[in-house]
Amino acid sequence: MIRFLLRRAFSTLTVMLVLSVVVYLVFYAAPHDPARLVCGKGCDGVRLAVVRHKLGTDLPLWQQYWQFLHGLLAGRDFDAGTDVTHCSAPCFGYSFQTDQPVLGMITARLPLDASLAVGAAVVWLLLGIGAGVLAALRRGGIGERALTGVTLAGMAMPVFLVGLLLMMVCCGYLQWLPFPSYVPLTQDPLAWASNLALPWLSLALVMAAAYARMTRSALLETLAEDHIRTARAYGLGERRIVLGHALRGALTPVITLLAMDLGGLLGGAQLTESVFGFDGIGRLLVESVNTIDLPVVVGITLFAGFFIVIANAVADLLYALADPRVGLQ
């Protein structure tokens, strides 16, 4: 177990490191000058040089990268010209555009993306597992075929399409819900939920399909196993067998998938945010890419990558714990 965790921690670090190198290379190769953008109209040579120096873009690539790495691991000092700010580790640096700490910009938006991800996950788990169980109970019936159809259609819908259509119908024509705009949970729980209802539903409709299929096939597989047959022999009702015994075993792959999907969503849901006009991590990324705000782009990439890697590790761990045959590799 300890070895597994250590190895995971090491590989996580490696992935992060490679990610950051790749982002630096990609942006360094691009013909952009963030300093000019910050400096604004009528910015001449001397002033431009000062801004470049302040941003650190006057240094060669490897030095910029080294400073970044140093800040991340040991913190660093930023000389703004009028004063020196210390940014303690883990320091992702300051945005070129807003002068704000990158980590703060991301964490300020995290509640939105977390609300989005967790709420949607609840909905898609209910929908997905429910549908999967139903399909497993009524094998070969019309219900199962309908489910197959619906889940396939769900998988075929890009989330921005579902979101758009839901918004057209619910907010535009029927006016059941307000046009979504994020309200923090702590401010007004009811408004929080009603504003996020559509984004949750859109994400859930797209994601639930995979869960339904997985639940169904995992259930069918478990149902064929020995201990279930024994339970059947004891005369337990099919419903009790499925819900009481088989489902528990079948949930492992579902939880694994959930860990990975949540990991992906926490790093920003660009399309969902864009459709509903939310100012989340995903939208911050798109904007930062447009304004060559390198520290923010690096920060978000690392952040998103971090969640995915952690989610992978959690998934593997869960898998190993639930199924001793797999083992911790």
Partner: protein
């Protein structure tokens, strides 16, 4: 759709930047104005819904026109735009901190201001002339970039001055006593009172200056103090106890609290204002024009129509030529393109006739700029390809020609939709247009650096203040060709006669005389076809249903937040 300060500046729409709000003028059409009484308007919370944040809320770094929308609530300046009317007088300069709009010397190179008595900062300390001087000096510091370039060009020694943080002061700003400020300029500038409306002219107490951190909590001289500021993304302003109407005849400051919320999608802003439920009934649009979704409802919905205010802000979107690139050195080619352009398509691409009107002059069509109508290459609403072909044949291209049009990738007014409309129209005249898109920031850099300037590109210019000077000089003054970047003289025109006329007009301190001079110059320049003016934007914005006395300033087209009531 990003319109951050940086992108806007890059776009060449420099002033839209700071205002991030630029919009209409027009007559006051605010809803329920009848029920408005300044004496009893105090109370409540006004919400401003915006796409873009305020950015760095430091008076040195803000780039506003006439003091801006939110900044004018916190920063009082020597002069300001006339806040009291939504009519054409809104484009006039009035005194703010100063007792008058400034006393010029004979040749307008020395300007003297006296501060009103009883002015105080938010902590109760009196505002002195030294605070005004220090505020201006800060804007020279390279550590606080982003403000307008004029002070550097106009003040003696401004070119070399690098701000007060290294200890040096700028001797061309004199403060003989606590209430007098004198500015010594390098050349005559009749427009100095207009410049003195910028936030750089707001007083900053040296003792409270925290350098680059000052933006977090700048010290207020206006009716509101900043009580919460999330990097300009969301801000809360509350009453300044040391401000009273008795020392400020421009601002009414009706709401007790003003909440600024940004990061919203334009469609969401419009839908929320239209629905006006809850707090949204007491909200105004900060920077968002109504879109097709709302426009389509206006005909049948009188209540909604009564909540839309139309306004104008002096700005022109145009196609720029760089005559150092062939074939744009040939006037016949430039004229042919002027004939071929389909302005209706371009206008449709940016939102239709409700939000843009065709432009044939470079100056905006408002008297304050010196508007003098002309249309030397009449192309009707949808282009005259036959005439264009004729000119091309004269120019030696009887079989048409191929050119490249550069544009930005994401911003609407200089982006792909406009480019496609131009491409299609020129195609009809036998001109094959290749599109050359670049990312917004890169686009700004390329088009504003003479050495990398493309031959033909989409650009825009908005008014730093409603006068012909800041509209024509940066674009056509040969001494404003900035080889190191930030150049907007895209034709790289350096014509001694034009330069002389600009100098002559700058000397004029009488607005009417200046308007005539600028209008005449624009009409002369138009004949050369250095640009193809496309359209002037029109601003159409919504307010919530309980908002009173909402009108847009004719100066910068923003809702005048200092006069709105929500009670």
């Amino acid at each position: 759709m990003s319109k951050s300060r940086a992108v806007a500046a890059a776009a060449g729409f420099a002033l839209l930047a700071g205002l991030a709000t630029a919009c209409g003028g027009g007559a006051a059409k605010g809803s329920a104005t009848a029920a408005f009484d300044p004496a009893t308007c105090q109370g409540g919370t006004l919400t401003v819904l915006a796409q873009q944040g305020q950015g760095k809320f430091d008076p040195a770094e803000l780039y506003t026109s006439g003091g801006g929308k939110v900044p004018t609530l916190v920063f009082r300046t020597l002069t300001t735009r006339d806040h009291t009317t939504g009519g054409p007088d809104g484009a006039k300069v009035v005194p703010d901190l100063a007792t008058d709009t400034g006393e010029p010397s004979q040749d307008a190179t020395v300007w003297t201001y006296h501060l009103k008595a009883g002015l105080k900062f938010e902590d109760g300390t009196p505002i002195r002339s030294a605070d005004v001087k220090y505020g201006i000096e800060r804007s020279f510091a390279p550590e606080l970039p982003g403000g307008p370039p004029y002070l550097r060009d106009w003040l003696i020694g401004g070119e070399q001055y690098a701000g007060p943080f290294k200890g040096a002061d700028l001797p061309s700003i004199e403060t003989p006593d606590d209430s007098t400020v004198i500015f010594r300029l390098t050349k005559p500038e009749g427009d100095f009172p207009y410049l003195a409306t910028a936030t750089q002219f707001a007083p900053v107490p040296r003792a409270k200056d925290t350098g680059t951190d000052y933006q977090k909590h700048p010290i207020s001289s206006g009716p509101y103090v900043v009580t919460s500021n999330d990097n300009g993304k969301s801000m809360v302003l509350e009453r300044n106890p040391y401000w009273t109407r008795s020392i400020d005849d421009q601002r009414l400051a009706c709401p007790d609290k003003i909440v600024y919320t940004s990061g919203l999608d334009s469609a969401v802003i419009n839908q929320r204002l239209a629905a006006s439920s809850g707090d949204d009934a007491r909200a105004v649009s900060g920077d968002t024009d109504i879109d097709a979704g709302i426009l389509a409802r206006l005909n049948s919905d009188a209540e909604l129509r009564s909540r839309v205010t139309t306004g104008y802000f002096g700005a022109t979107q145009y196609l720029a030529f760089n005559p150092t690139v062939k074939p744009f050195d040939n006037p016949l080619v430039r004229q042919a393109i002027s004939y071929a352009v389909d302005r209706q398509s371009v206008i449709n691409a940016v939102g239709g006739s409700a939000v843009a009107k065709p432009a044939t002059t470079f100056l905006p069509d408002q008297p304050a700029f010196g508007y003098t109508p002309y249309d030397y290459f009449p192309s009707g609403p949808s282009g005259d390809p036959a005439k264009a072909k004729e000119l091309l044949a004269q120019a030696g291209y009887p079989n048409g020609l191929s050119i490249t049009l550069s544009h930005a990738t994401s911003q609407t007014d200089i982006g792909p939709a406009v480019a496609a409309a131009v491409q299609e129209a020129l195609g009809k005249a036998g001109i094959t247009v290749k599109l050359d898109p670049s990312a917004d920031d890169d686009y700004g850099t390329r088009t504003q650096l003479p050495s990398s300037e493309p031959g033909f590109f989409i650009s825009g210019w908005g008014a730093d203040w409603p006068s012909g000077g800041p509209f024509l000089a940066p674009i056509f003054d040969g001494r404003q060709i900035l080889t190191a970047g930030g150049n907007f003289n895209s034709a790289q025109l350096n014509d001694p006669q034009v330069n002389a006329e600009i100098d002559a007009a700058n000397k004029l301190t009488d607005p009417a005389a200046a308007q005539r001079a600028w209008g005449q110059l624009d009409a002369e320049l138009g004949k050369q076809a250095w640009t193809v003016p496309l359209y002037h934007p029109v601003y159409k914005r919504l307010v919530g249903k309980d908002v009173k006395n909402a009108y847009v300033s004719q100066w910068n087209g923003v809702y005048d937040l200092s006069r709105i009531s929500v009670k």
